[in-house]
């Protein structure tokens, strides 16, 4: 089988680091290695580089630089936000509200907190993956200390009504955390306007390096530390700073948020053409998630009668990179909790394919998928005991 150029349509999993970002990082991997906690000249350079990156993040989020803390990624940020707020405010209450469709970094942290005596409400979502605001209001008790709702979902791309949630949270004086890992660079964010108290981000999702991320913490928020040790990050996050990573994150967020609209335009156009082509050519196929309120690059489609992993394996043979919500890639029996939460039956959830477009894609990639995917689906259906051609 002929290998074509790599058609990378898994930008929600991770992105390639922008070459300008790598270039900005290089000096800090080489001669500029000084530990920013030190006192001599080369340490100052490191310190300044970190503070300049902090400014860039602050600007992208409409925050103050002093409200930005660097972490090792989205997972650490989510863990810190949830555990840190929960433990620091447990005298005030023990109730946390989140949703059924959060990333595991939030869900598993909530499960851990349940073991520690906290109560967690997992809000349901509608068929498009959107949280019901009246359900949210109903769930609030005088014990509620934290609401955590993701900005945009990593699987189906659904964008939540974050400003409305922020308003509800602030009216009830409850801290509001949002996992914006998938949103940065795709949706303009303003933590002030949306009443966000804590916001997680991860550089490798917006063309920055892996292993670096951050947490926005609104001034005055009561939150415990997650990592104890040295006095870095104004005594809130210990550990020698990953300077190259931080510098890369700063550059990446600057690039990703410089011109969100025109960036989206290009990607959304390709995405929409791809969607129309797939739905037009392949029967027994449905789009998961919301038609409008979705990330510009995200497609999540279920193909009945077939299973996702085998689809991915065949696509890989043609150089197409995608992902699936089938349990078969994760080794569990349950397919994606997100697809189940929007009401998909198990067998349909198993047959889902996520294609997430981004900077790596060109129109010819769309052509390639539109040529290959129908064949792949047809081939697997021909093997499937569930499929009858006359269906």
């Amino acid at each position: 089988m002929e290998k074509k150029r790599l058609v990378y349509m898994d930008h929600a999993a991770t992105t390639m680091t922008h070459s300008e970002v790598v270039r900005t990082m290089m000096p800090y991997l080489n001669e500029r290695f000084g530990n920013p906690s030190s006192i001599y000249g080369i340490a100052h350079e490191s310190k300044e580089a970190i503070e300049s990156a902090r400014q860039k993040v602050a600007k992208a989020l409409g925050a103050d630089a002093q409200e930005i803390y660097f972490t090792a990624g989205g997972t650490e940020s989510d863990n810190w936000a949830l555990k840190g707020v929960a433990f620091a405010n447990k005298k005030k209450g023990n109730h946390i509200i989140t949703t059924k469709i959060e990333h595991h970094a939030v869900l598993h942290t909530c499960q851990y907190l349940e073991k520690q005596g906290f109560e967690v409400t997992y809000l349901p979502v509608d068929a498009y993956g959107i949280v019901d605001l009246s359900e949210l209001e109903k769930a609030i008790t005088d014990q509620t200390i934290l609401i955590s709702v993701m900005y945009a979902n990593n699987e189906i791309g659904t964008i939540q009504p974050i400003a409305e949630i922020g308003k509800i949270a602030s009216e009830h004086e409850i801290y509001f955390h949002t996992d914006a890992v998938q949103a940065i660079g795709n949706i303009p964010i303003d933590v002030e306007a949306a009443n966000i108290d804590l916001l997680s981000f991860s550089a490798h999702k917006f063309y920055g390096p892996k292993g670096i991320g951050g947490l926005y913490i609104r001034k005055g928020t009561r939150i415990d530390n997650l990592l104890h040790g040295g006095g870095q990050e104004r005594k809130r996050r210990a550990g020698t700073e990953n300077i190259a990573g931080i510098v890369g994150l700063g550059k990446a967020i600057e690039l990703a948020t410089a011109d969100i609209d025109s960036h989206n335009l290009r990607i959304r156009a390709m995405r929409d053409r791809l969607l129309a082509g797939i739905l037009g050519q392949i029967p027994h196929t449905r789009l998961n998630g919301h038609q409008e309120k979705r990330l510009p690059g995200n497609l999540n489609i279920s193909f009945e009668y077939i299973e996702g992993e085998s689809m991915l394996l065949l696509l890989d043979q043609y150089g197409i990179c995608g992902s699936t919500g089938s349990a078969c890639t994760s080794g569990s029996l349950e397919p994606s909790h997100v697809l189940l939460a929007i009401g998909l039956p198990h067998e349909i959830a198993h047959g889902s394919l996520r294609l997430t477009l981004g900077d790596a894609n060109r129109e010819e990639d769309v052509d390639c998928v539109l040529e290959v995917l129908p064949k792949v689906v047809e081939r697997l259906r021909s093997m499937s005991p569930l499929y009858r051609p006359d269906q």
Partner: protein, 141 residues
Amino acid sequence: MYSEKVMDHFMNPRNMGEIENADGIGEVGNPVCGDIMKISLKIEDNRIVDARFKTFGCGAAIASSSMATELVKGKTLEEAWEVSNKAVAEALEGLPPIKMHCSVLAEEGIHKAINEYRIKNGLEPWEEKTPYGEHTPGDGA
């Protein structure tokens, strides 16, 4: 992740399809778990002269079905009954731990098809070592 053998049987599955007027058919698995295998056998003189599969499932499930049908073709029913999931996995040059249940499913499919034949022909069905459906996938550890 997968051995070359698995990829070969996934990309070029042997014995894919259904036998018309099959002598024994076994359908195992369920769509909730994401794997269904349907094995059909042509049996002559107590010997499997043809075996076919249709599978809804992951790469390992498809490769396991393909390999299992290859392994039982030409064997007597007694010999075919002894083809274990381990034999399937070994013939595939190994499966990732979290995919071992696919080979179990293939073994079960063959067994179910053989017993369907036996029952249809007034014979006592043979007993499974582990009842259908009680396999659990590895925990990935």
